[in-house]
């Protein structure tokens, strides 16, 4: 299949809650479980014989049903997801796993349990800071979930099934990693929007099917010479973002997003988990709990700051776009802390953007990105090739 056809496939997979892979999985009599946050490890769901499907708001035209129950003061991502749930678009799910990611997802869990007909609800209380002494609590939560899944779906989740699931997700991460390397080239072979689409697809389809799709993509991209070097290479970070159109709007301004640190994107690619552990759930828990943290993890900002600096340098990004969904407190703190650090250490130029989920990027976004790109270019001219703070 040609490169463009493959990307068309990816677009079809991610544009609505359901997709042909999910339907096929369901048709074979196996369960599908929705989950909100990556601190709910998909390996555990796969080991339970279920297809993990990351919950999204794609396909939601308005959030009226969510607004009615949750008000308009809740994160628009959560409102769109819950609108789809309330409007039965997620009826194909056999269960859902919520996490205390933030207040908004907590309330979504209330709506899930009280207003949806889903037969299974799991919940993970993830400690708010990735400290070693709190790890056992998280592992305990996963063990409880393991028992609940086994009981509800009448399956055995053992060492073998967990290690098999680890091998599958390691395969997914390996392939995504290889694709991401193609974004770093002088002439990137993958745009940020396309890369995000592929990362999202990986969270909505069976790992074996994704492996086939990704291998085909990698093979096709081999012969592609890449895009012309962009005027500006950007790094995107911040809150939940699973809308490739948003990245495409950024990239329409003489820029390419060569790397990101968003949970639907590259933050989902955190290296590999030991495939032969005697206690695979421990291995999964450790990899998940101590992965690059999300802004909901208190006191870990210094590590995130250090990693962001390192990755911006490694990927030769000229600037960083920080985006935040309105009403999101965890990423509100991150915005403050980033701006605070940058004041004393202007390591890179930054543009901070406020988003609403499901809103088609407007001219205003393009204008702001355009001005940011120009600012970077002017600084580059002023400072010579070495770049410097714009």
């Amino acid at each position: 299949m040609a490169r463009n056809d493959l990307f068309d496939d990816v677009t079809a997979i991610i544009s609505a809650p359901d997709n042909p892979y999910i339907s096929r999985w369901k048709a074979s009599g196996k369960p599908v479980i929705g989950y909100f946050c990556q601190y709910a490890p998909p390996e555990l769901l796969l080991a339970a014989g279920a297809l993990p499907v990351r919950l999204r708001g794609a396909g939601s035209e308005d959030s009226a049903s969510g607004d009615a129950l949750m008000s308009s003061r809740v994160c628009t991502f959560v409102r769109h997801v819950m609108s789809l749930v309330l409007d039965d678009a997620y009826d194909f799910l056999d269960g859902e796993i919520s996490v205390n990611t933030c207040d908004h997802v907590r309330r979504a869990a209330d709506v899930f349990t009280k207003k949806s007909a889903l037969p299974f609800h799991g919940f993970i209380s993830v400690p708010r800071t990735p400290r070693e002494s709190l790890f056992d609590y998280y592992l305990g939560e996963l063990r409880k979930l393991q028992a609940a899944l086994a009981e509800h779906f009448k399956v055995v989740i053992d060492r073998e099934s967990l290690n098999r699931a680890i091998r599958q997700t390691n395969g997914t991460r390996r392939r995504l990693s290889a694709l991401n390397q193609l974004r770093r080239l002088e002439r990137p072979k993958l745009s940020g929007a396309k890369a995000l689409s592929v990362h999202i697809a990986a969270q909505l389809m069976p790992p074996d099917d994704f492996a086939e799709l990704a291998d085909n993509l990698l093979a096709e991209l081999e012969s592609f010479e890449g895009y012309d070097p962009p005027t500006v290479r950007l790094f995107v970070t911040g809150a939940e973002l699973d809308e490739p159109a948003y990245i495409a709007a950024i990239e329409s301004q003489d820029a390419l997003v060569v790397a990101d640190d968003i949970c639907f994107g590259e933050r989902s690619v955190f290296g590999s988990i030991d495939e032969n552990s005697d206690d695979p759930l421990d291995a999964i828990a450790r990899a998940t709990f101590f992965r690059t943290s999300c802004a909901r993890m208190i006191g870990d900002f210094p590590n995130r700051w250090e990693r962001l600096n390192r990755r911006v340098a490694e990927t030769k990004a000229d600037g960083v776009i920080f985006q935040r969904l309105i009403f999101c407190d965890p990423w509100g703190a991150e915005q403050h802390n980033l701006l605070h650090r940058l004041q004393s250490d202007p390591a890179f130029p930054i543009l901070s953007l406020l988003r609403e989920y499901g809103v088609v990027p407007t001219g205003q976004l393009r204008t702001r990105v355009q001005a940011f790109v120009e600012k970077i270019e002017i600084a580059r001219v002023r400072n010579g090739a070495a770049g410097g703070g714009a």
Partner: protein, 436 residues
Amino acid sequence: MSRKPLQQVPEWLQLFQSMPNIQRFFAGDSNAHGMNSLLKSLNVYLKKMLHHNDSDHPFVWYNLGFNSELIYALGDVCPVPVESLGVMHSLIGSHDITLEFIDHAQACGVPNDCCSADKLAIGAMHKQVYPQPACTVGINTPCDAQVLSTQVIAELGQAPFFAIDVPYYHNDETIRHVAKQLWELVPFLEAHTRRKLDYDRLREVCELSNRMTETIWEWLEWRKRAPLAQSSKLVAFTLILQILFTGSEEGLAIAQGLLREARERSERDERFFEERVRAVWYQDPVWTDLQIYDWFERELGLTVPVDIFGFYAHEGLIDTRTPETMMLGLARKLVACHPMARQFRGNIDVYIRDFMHMVEAWNADCCIFAGHIACKHAWGGIGLFKEALRKADIPLLIFEFDMFDPRVTPYQDVFFEVERFVNEIVYPRKQRKASA
């Protein structure tokens, strides 16, 4: 002496200069034991703070989800809730300073949709008004706003930071999990304050804390009497007591003042107005202008015998027999009793259940959901809350406002909403019921 005298910090100086006048103003009502004891204890706290500052004693910063016992138990260590200065200015009516803190936080990158309690704290930290801490403590309760606040404390405190994780569930495992972290916190505090925790001293502090809790419970019992004899505006003070004063003589003195006033006014059967309607004020008090409750009483006959910041759940006292039982008791206070933390951190059921209990126990006619715009967890549950109230046939008023920032919803709008609700819905309905 290495620290700047607090009298040289304009925001503190204004507070020190205002306090005697405010004390004199309220002293005019010799029966206002609640307000008078609060002001007296605040004054004592401020004097001690000056002394700690001048003597170079360690300061420990923390956020509003934490309680002060462990810090008092360390001896000459000063507890500093990072919200305290902005809140004190709001309480004494110097809103210009509170709003300046809020605006400054926003100018420093805190989004405007975040909680004003955080913003006034962050603005104050940026302006470096608090003495430099020896270390800082952050707890994730009651809500995401405190996640924001603690992340910023960790960043701006420039001191070692300890995070306490409170899980989602309401069970004993949660209490044990938090107690385990308090055991970790002790050596952290000891190392950074260079003070050894003496468990006999901790026992004394916990006993004071218990006496304060028992006094609060008794006080809230008196406030169940109808008609309410004590001012509505005092009820939310429970929260301040737990954050800043619990475990101190001052805390006990405030609680005793509140109780004495409620009891004496009830026994004298005092009446300054006719009580027509009793409401449970759910969500946040109007800290920007507590006089608004006087207005409700005088103009509408509306009283608020209890609110979410004032309610202190009966979850037992701290068992002071051993260090282990004390840590468990302190953890239980933080997760199961502390106002807001109890209702807001988990699922919506506790929030709804506590409300139903308050309506019944305090014999309320209605609910006023004063929707602080940043309480996204409460707004996120509003549909389920409304359903529960509809089923229980309890009239409900919902409005948006900001508890520290009157620019969000002007007083007039709050007046208008409450007046219409009381006069057109609740009171006529109550009369209809009475005559049926």
